[in-house]
């Protein structure tokens, strides 16, 4: 009975600041991935800079999966996280939050793979990609925190 009620009510156990951090971080990730996607589609890489080695990473063969740029997949991922949190705030269904929290594992695993590629295979670090990796990791941690808080409340 108790759990039935709590499943349709705003959870007091998941603090607003976790939700707010979720929104902020996923939005940063979205902006970052969108920038890389736009760079990818704007065609010619205009130059290779002395200061960064982004082009090496973003033009490597690991930058696309079946012709889809990884950056675009990233942008969609962050946008999905962001929108499901808005949906959670709107509908207040606990299930949305739980699902989103679990879904962050996908981002964590993908980021771990891309960091590995940058460090050991391509041997170049792209700062924008690292921002995304940090964002994914933080989202995962927030997700686990949200799940833990929820479990305690039940």
């Amino acid at each position: 009975m108790n759990s039935e009620i709590s499943s349709n009510r705003p959870s007091r156990a998941v603090p607003n600041r976790i939700i707010a951090s979720f929104l902020v971080i996923s939005f940063i990730g979205f902006a970052d991935a969108t920038y890389l996607t736009a760079k990818h589609y704007s065609g010619t890489p205009l130059e290779c800079s002395v200061f960064e080695s982004c082009e090496k990473v973003t033009t490597s063969r690991y930058a696309t999966v079946l012709g889809i740029p990884v950056a675009l997949l990233g942008a969609i991922y962050y946008l999905a996280i962001f929108l499901s949190l808005i949906a959670y705030l709107d509908l207040r269904r606990e299930g949305i939050l739980s699902f989103t929290a679990l879904f962050t594992i996908v981002g964590l695993l993908a980021s771990a793979w891309f960091v590995y590629l940058q460090l050991f295979v391509i041997q170049a670090i792209c700062p924008y990609c690292m921002v995304s990796a940090v964002a994914s990791t933080v989202l995962f941690l927030l997700g686990m925190l949200a799940l833990k808080k929820k479990r305690v409340s039940c």
């Binding site: 979205f30 902006a31 969108t34 920038y35 736009a38 760079k39 704007s42 010619t44 890489p45 205009l46 130059e47 290779c48 800079s49 002395v50 200061f51 080695s53 082009e55 090496k56 033009t59 063969r61 946008l79 962001f82 929108l83 808005i86 705030l89 709107d90 041997q123 170049a124």
Partner: protein
Amino acid sequence: MNPEHSHLSKKERRQLRRGERIAAELHQTRRRFTRRIAVWSSVLIGIGTVVFMIVKLSTQPPASGVPVVPSRIEITPEDWIKGESGSKVVLVEYSDFQCPACGTYYPILKQLYKEFGDRLQFVYRHFPLEQHRHADLAARAAEAAGRQGRIWEMHDLLFEGQATWANQNHPEEMFIGYARQLGVDIERFRADLDSREGKKAVEEDRISGNRVGVNSTPTFFLDGVIIQNPRNYDEFRNLLQQAIESRS
């Protein structure tokens, strides 16, 4: 109870209350609906605006790379020059054989040279970047071919094969294969590839690039003055056309 309803029967009052309740619920549903529309449309508009700004930002040519005081550069006897010395316009490129952006400009430049060949002198200078681990060797391969008079052929082969050799651990063999393809003396090519003169020639180009503020590749100088990288063939063509016309 509302006093003005006192004249109504019990049943009528009950119906009225029910009606009021439904109206109130309806009102609340409507308000919630409006709120929902407001939230979601502002979210979507916000996202749209941000995406628009980011796309605009990312397609702008970077402002860096152009020194405040443009330095004029001159051609030296050590330069690799394509085209007649009496040409009207001189285009100098600081480039890196392993840089994908330089690889993108390669067919553009080739086409431009075809079009303006008789009125244009093209100079290639090495600017191998740190993050491209084979760029220095590739530059030396071009130098080594140049010592046997085949710099431009090697230049073309290096750019055309960039995607292949850039990902290899030991591209020397591929470079030697290119040399063989060009029909140069292989023993001499091998020796020149590791010679001190070759290394020095590449290094001198790089130093000269640093001196005039090159910090990315490719960087172009048109008649001695640094230019913003044109974004496509047509932009580049117009730029050269203007330079040629202003000379005549």
